[in-house]
Each structure stands twice: as C-alpha cells, then as structure tokens.
Symmetry: C2
Subunit: 137 residues, 2 copies
DNA sequence: TTCAATGCAAAAGTTTTGCACCTCT
DNA sequence: AGAGGTGCAAAACTTTTGCATTGAA
C-alpha cells in the first residue's frame, strides 16, 4: 500500500503530521469513526491537534477522493478510507457500522441507468438490521 | 386515502391540529422537506405552531411508521410520508430529492439475505447524480 | 521566504429538552 | 378532570469560519 505522504507529495500537496495521522488512523480501522472519535483517538499521540483541523483534513481528503463520507442517520458523519463502492450495514441494536463487499450488490443502479431519467454518479446502499453478534443474544 | 385523524383515533392517540397539519403537508408534497421547511410552509395557516412541535410531531409519526426520515448527507433530515420502500435520487446539481419506484430495485438486499451474516430490517438506496432538468442545461 | 495549514475561539445550524400552560378525550 | 401535547427559551451537538500563528517547501 502506498504511503499517504508519497501520494500527497506526488500531487504537490503539503504533507503534515496531522494529515498523516488522520489518514493512517482511518486506514487502520473498520469502525467508520466520526470526526470526534478520530480526534479523541489521535489526541494521546497528537496532543496539539484540534478538532477543527480534523474536520478540515477530512474535507481535504474527501475532495481528493481518498476518503468517503458516510451518513447513516445519526446526525453526524462517519468517514471511511475505503473508497471503493460498497454497501454498509448498520446494526439497529448495537449501532455498529460495517462494510459489505458483495459483487452482486455492485452498481445495482448502473445496470438500470438506461431506464432512469437520471444520470447516476454515485450510489449508496445502507442496510439496517441486526448484526451477527446481536442476533446471538 | 384514509384520513390521518381517523388513523390516530383508531389507535387511541390524540388528534391535534398540529398533527393533522404536519401529516397532510407531507402527504401533499414530493419535495421531501426538512423540519424547517415544513415549519415555514405551515406558518401562514398555523401561526402559533412552533418548530419544536414540528420536530416532536415528526418523531411521533416516525415511531408510528407513518413517516420516514431520510438523510442524504446535507446535515439535516428530510421527511417522507411515502413509507413504502423506494430508492431516492439526489441531484448533485440542484439538490432536488426525488423518488424512484422501480420494481427491479426493490428489496435488493433481501434477495441476498441468506448470504449475509446480517438480518436486514430496512434498507435505503440513494442515487446521487444529475436529474433530467439539470442534464438539459 | 512564502503560502498554506493549524489551532483557537466564536459562530452557525440543526435538533433536543425542561417546564408551564393549554387542549383533547 | 386528567393525561398528554404544545410553545417557548435555553441547551446540546455537530460542523464551519475568521484570524493570528506556525510550519512545510
């Protein structure tokens, strides 16, 4: 996997500790954290980082297409460094947000594009229900 | 179509002018308005209604399953009185939120349910792109 | 050195809450 | 009459913004 510092350098963008920290944190989690969680996670190792910078950095990566914003209806955004299209699951019991990588669900709408009076640029599929952990209980 | 007053009465729930106004407003629009828009729309005819009541009323109908909350990533919720499952379109150009009623897109995930380690209760498909109006330009 | 990024605090915007008063049943 | 709904204002949250300072190239 390519280093984020290298990706930024190749594009002529500034490499800062904050950008590296945010991006790497997102790459190393499957939790789809929100800005606050990212901030709290990085606080111990980056004590001077501010929440505003986390927001600005997330927006920066979003513009670059390196990070995806996700809203599952909690009143705040979550972020995902996996920008390949994939559906998300949201457990209505524990709140866990997960990824699904099913070929069968890919580009569901693009197959129907010709029938639609709408030019699809992006799609998002969210499944709400019970995760395996919560079903066991 | 059944009157909302009758639906509430049958369930033993209180019928108030505010509830009737909010529900009927939602039934008579395809715009998927947010709380503020609902409030502003009803203000002329219901001058004493407060925004807090709009929120409480929307939550009330949501619990009853008579109204659906929709978040397309704008930082606020929209509401829809059409609670049959259907995908939504969001125009990245003009912001318009529309409905799609395509059989082919229904229960996309339920067909795959057996393959998933997840019990789907509800699903939401949002297509982002250009609406027909914006494509003409 | 220069320009952009950061950090802070304040502001903006949405949604929730507490409570007194009112209204539906 | 009583339970529950409404309206108001304040509070709680998330996210954005302005600006002085810092830091990367």
């Amino acid at each position: 996997m390519k280093e984020i510092a290298q990706i930024l350098r190749e594009k002529g963008l500034k490499v800062t500790p904050q950008r590296i920290a945010v991006y790497n944190m997102l790459c190393n989690t499957k939790e789809h954290p929100d800005a606050e969680t990212i901030y709290k996670t990085l606080e111990p190792t980056n004590p001077t980082m501010s929440l505003a910078t986390v927001y600005k950095t997330l927006d920066f990566f979003k513009q670059l297409g390196l990070v995806q914003e996700l809203n599952v209806g909690e009143g705040r955004s979550r972020y995902d460094a996996d920008v390949d299209w994939h559906p998300h699951t949201v457990c209505t019991c524990c709140g866990q947000v997960g990824d699904l990588h099913l070929e069968a669900l890919k580009n569901v709408s693009q197959k129907l594009a010709p029938e639609l009076d709408f030019e699809v640029e992006m799609e998002q599929l969210i499944l709400y229900g019970k995760c395996s952990e919560c079903r066991k209980k």
